[in-house]
Each structure stands twice: as C-alpha cells, then as structure tokens.
Amino acid sequence: MINELTPVQQDRLNEQKTRYTNKGFWLQLIFIACLILVPIVIPSFRVVDMVAKIMIMIVLVASYDLILGYTGILSFAHHMFWGIGAYSVALLFYHSTNPSAYLLIAAIIIAVALSFVLSLLLTMFSLRVQAIFFALLSLAVAEFALILSEQWTSLTMGEDGVNFPLPDLLSSASASGRMVTYYLILVISLFLFFLLMRFVQSPLGKVLRAIKDNEKRATAMGYKTLRYKIVPIVVGSCIAAISGILFALWLRFVDPKTVFSSGVMIFVLLMVIIGGLGTMWGSICGVVIIYLAQTWLPDLLKVGASLLPPHPIITGLAERWMLYFGIMFILIMLFFPRGVVGTIQKYLHEKKVAQLKK
C-alpha cells in the first residue's frame, strides 16, 4: 500500500515526534520559568513593573500583528479596543459600591462583546468597499473614542481619568496584591499569546496567509476572502480588549491620554514593524527592544545634551525623545521592512536553500 498520509498529516506527525526534542520548546519553557521567577528573585518594583507591562504589550502587539501581519489590513483603532477594555474594568469597579472579583469576569464579557460588535461593524462598513477604507474609518472612530472619553464626563470622569478601587485580592489592601495581579497577568497573557500562536498555525491561519500572499489566487481557489479577513480583525480586537483589562488592573488608573491617544497606536505600529510583520515571535522582540530603548533613551539624550551648549532647540531635541522613535520608524520601513525576526528568518531560509543546493 502506498503512503496515504497527506502533506498536512505528515507535517503534524513530524511535529509530534520532535515536540520535546525541539530547541524552541525548551526555550519557551525557560522563558516562562523566568517570567514566573521575576517577582520572587528581583524584589525591585521597577523591574517587575516593566516586565508586567511588557507582557501586556506583547499581547496587544501580537494581536495587532494578527490583523496587520496576517491579513495586510491596516487598523488605526487597535488602541481603541485596548482602551475599551481598560475603561470597562475601571468604570465597573469605580461605579460599584463593593468591588468583587466577579466584576472582573463581567468586565471581560462587556469589553469583549463591545469590541466584537464594534470591530464587526467597522469591517462590515469598510472592507466590502476597499481595504484602505478600513484604515480611514478606524482612524476616525478611534479619534471619536478619544473625544468621547474626554468629554462624556458623567461616565468617564473626563481628562482626570478614573482612579478605581480593586477587589481586596488584587489591591494594595492585601500585602500580596501586586504579586497576585502579576501572576494573573502572566497566566492570561500566556494563554492569549499561545491562543494567537495556535490561531495562526490553524488551517484558518494558513488560508489567511494564502490570501495575504495573493488574494486573487485565494479567491480562485474558492475561498470567500472577505469573510476570512473579518475573523482575524474581530479576534485581534477582542484580544486587545482583554489586554487592556490587564493593563488597567496593573496601573490601577485609566485616563484618556494613556489608552486612547494616537501615540499608543504609533508605539504599537513601531513594535510590530521592528519585530517583523507576520511573525508572532517578532512581537516579543519588538516590545522588548522598544521598552528597553524607552527606558534608556531619555537619559542618554540628556547626557548628550549636557555636552552641547545650552540652546532651546538642543534641549528640545533632547527632551522630545519620541522624535527619534518616529525617525527610527521611517528608517526601518525604508531599509529594513522585514523587522528583526523577519530578517533572521530570511537569513536562515537562505542558508537552508544554499545548503540544499550543495
């Protein structure tokens, strides 16, 4: 009898055989172990704070990569979904007299439902016309969300932001409040990240990749490409909302500037591009690079400025460190469009091809 396995089954069999001998698997385990150990080994709040924020951002950036990297559709409203999550948990806790942990589940449901409906509406209105309209419509809607959060003061407290009480388990009332929050963030972020990994490796993810490579070909093969494109947008937006909930829990404070301003979107874009579009691991890379740069760059610039004669323009150049991220963004787009992980993958691929040729 001839071999009846299809290529997909063959792939899966191979994967199952090498699952535990694979280097990547052990690397992932070590990575997770490090994350678990961080708050125990390093008691400094600054480090724990950064690691927690990095984990939250990784989920946000990875979910954005699902939209941009796997469908090629540009959304400028991703930070809006993030903000919806953050605000839903903040407002629920703020307006409830007795904050209990059940409200957290309610917040997740509300945030996911809102994001689901909104992202579905956005796609319904724009994608059927032209992919570019999604960028335009989402930009306008995100701006509207910023204005609403600033001006609908009876609900959102306006620009002052929401300073909300947390359930005892997570709040500073109990000594281990931060620790519990940290591990909650760790567990949920890990779950969401592996969910995203699973999503892009699923048959659906493969169809998406085919659509991105050549939409006409995918249509010719009988896939209804429009429907397939809607799925990652909706899933990505909902995951962003959950990431926003985690962010609000960690910060214990939400205001329009930190979640709804377009600067957040620029940061997410920068992280996705640096890491590499269409590579989930790239999002980890991008977030870590940008966070490290963000911690060191302002100090570095101040040192640089102190060497030069004092002039308003020079101090301005030193203070507005965001400028350099913008310039970096343009340069990367021009000369390095695959990002870090994408470039490494390309290099490995070329090496493999060269070896096979020999």
Partner: protein, 333 residues
C-alpha cells in the same frame, strides 16, 4: 447623444450632493432660533472651507497616484505655525492688530505666503525623499507617511514648543457685522470667500488647461496617460506640492479663526479631511467641496446641541455614504 446622457447623469449625481447639503442646512431650524442658526451656519461654512483646503489635496493626490498621504495634516499645522511666526513678527512692528487696512491686508497676505512657502518646501522633501521610494505599495505608504506626520509634529513641538500659541488677527478682519439679531464674524466671510475662490480656480485649471486635462486623465487611468508620453511622476509631484500648499493655506486661515495654533491642530484636521474625502469620492474636487460643507455644517450644528457627539455625526454621515455610495458622492463609479 451618448455624451449628452453622460452629462445629464453627471448632473443628477452633482445635484444629489447639493440636495443633501441644503437639506442638512435646513434640518436644525426645527430645533433652534433663527439667529443662533445663522451664526452656526456661517461658522459651519467657514469650518467647511478649512477642511476643504486640506481635503482637496488629499483627494486629488489619492485619485492620481493612489498615495494616501497621512502627513497631510502636518502640512496644515506647519502652515498655521509659519503664518503665526510671520504675523507675530509683523505684530511687533504694529502692523497687525493696530495697523491701517492696507497693513492688515499685507500682513494677512504675508502670513498666507509664508504658509505656502513652507507647504511647498515640506511637500517637496516628503515627496522626493520618502514617498517616491514606496510608490505602489499602499501599506508602506500609509505607514511611512504616518511616521513622517509624527516626526513633523514632534519637530513643531521642538521649534515652537508643545503649548498653544496666541495668534493676532489683522485689524481689518477683526470684529463682526450685526444684522438685527444675527451676528456675522467678518473673518468667517473672508474664509468662505477664499474657499469658494480656490474651488473655482481649481475647477478652471482642471477643466480649461492642458495640465488640468492631463491630471484628470491621470485620475481616470494613469497607465494610458503614461503610455501617451506624459511623465506622470512629474505631474504627480506638482499636484502633491499644490496639495501641500493648499493644506498649509488652510492651516494659516484656520489659525486666524481659532486665534491660536497648537501642535495637534493638523491631526484633528486630518480626521475631518479623511471623512470628507470618503464622502466626496477620491479624486473629485467638487466632491471634496460638497463633503467639506456637509461635515463642517453637521459638526457645528451638533456641537451646539450635544458637544461630545459632534465628530460622531460626521462619522455617521461617512458610514451612511459608504453604505449607499461606496465610491463617494462624486467618485469614479
């Protein structure tokens, strides 16, 4: 015969847009007093003109070359700041708020001129250095111009500081006319006149001159224009510069209306410009005009009644137009 029917169809399409504008104009009368209504309408029309000046370049640039220039709002902000710099210098000589009529017209003209110059310089740099490298790749264009917009706004913050700056108004444009209960701000009338003037000049250039015909043909089908032997890239650079200059003029004019300049002004305006371009149709100047009027009027009426929802009404109009006419009111069908 066939051209006749096309013409009449086009007429119907045009009237359709105007009917919506007029209908929208009259709707708020049900709820408010006549004098408030008039003030709001004039303010809305003037606001529409600022948006039109930004949107027209964006629309033609997209129509001609498929380039969505996200940095268009930055031209608007730079225009405002350039004119602010010139006006505050002239204010030091006493030309602006205390000068004669001639001096205030001259300072107004010089402010606009400064905006035009900086718009052209910035447009040239952006087009030649950055956008040229990513022709034909939508995603990269949007991302790169978005990054450029961000850098440009940061540069504004470095040069002029991150805070609002007060803008002087030339004496001849200050104050208002009063007819009975209706108060009409002088400057808004000037703004409306400039907007209409730009529309008429742009339409004349597009309809009557050779360059205009090439541009219109390019919007319709750029490959054919290239095949005939025109260098579409050069024409595109020209259109891009004109668009940037118009946005800068819009910014300068807006600064006199708002009485201040601030780094975020371009980003806010860009949102409206996008809505207008979607409503009016990519590549259509008349469409941008109609769209700008709709957006400006609706925004002003609603911001009087329910302030937080003002931008929402524009988004709703955009969504409805996307549903009924996906290519915009006057877009290429």
């Amino acid at each position: 015969m066939s051209s006749q029917t096309i013409l009449s169809q086009e007429n119907i399409r045009k009237n359709y847009g105007w009917l919506i504008v007029i209908g929208l104009c009259l709707l708020p009368l049900l709820k408010m007093k006549f004098d408030t209504y008039m003030t709001l309408t004039i303010a809305g029309l003037a606001f529409g003109m600022f948006i039109f000046l930004t949107a027209v370049g964006l629309s033609v640039i997209f129509g001609l070359m498929d380039v969505l220039n996200m940095a268009h709002g930055a031209f608007f902000a730079f225009g405002g700041y350039a004119s602010y710099t010139v006006i505050s210098k002239l204010g030091g000589f006493g030309w602006v708020d205390t000068g004669t009529t001639g001096q205030s017209w001259a300072s107004f003209g010089l402010g606009i001129l400064a905006a035009v110059v900086i718009g052209i310089i910035l447009g040239f740099i952006l087009e030649r250095v950055i956008i040229k490298k990513v022709y034909g790749d939508h995603l990269k264009q949007i991302l790169i111009t978005m990054g450029s917009a961000y850098v440009l706004v940061e540069i504004i913050k470095i040069i002029w500081g991150p805070n609002d700056e007060q803008v002087l108004v030339p004496a001849a444009f200050d104050g208002s006319w009063i007819f009975g209960d209706v108060i009409i701000t002088k400057y808004r009338v000037v703004a409306i006149a400039v907007g209409v003037l730009v529309l008429i000049i742009a339409q004349l250039i597009l309809k009557k001159t050779k360059i205009g015909i090439i541009v219109r043909a390019g919007v319709e089908n750029k490959e054919v224009v290239q095949a005939i032997g025109y260098n579409i890239n050069k024409i595109f650079t020209g259109v891009f510069l004109v668009g940037a200059a118009l946005a800068a003029i819009g910014g300068a004019m807006f600064s006199f209306n708002k009485l201040q300049v601030y780094p975020g002004m371009g980003d806010e305006q860009f949102i409206f410009a996008i809505i207008v371009v979607v409503i009016g149709g990519m590549g259509s100047i008349a469409g941008s005009f109609i769209g700008a009027l709709m957006v400006g009027l609706a925004y002003n009426y609603v911001s009087f009644m329910v302030p937080p929802l003002a931008l929402g009404i524009d988004i709703i109009i955009m969504a409805v137009i996307l549903l009924i006419k996906p290519k915009g009111l006057l877009g290429q069908q």
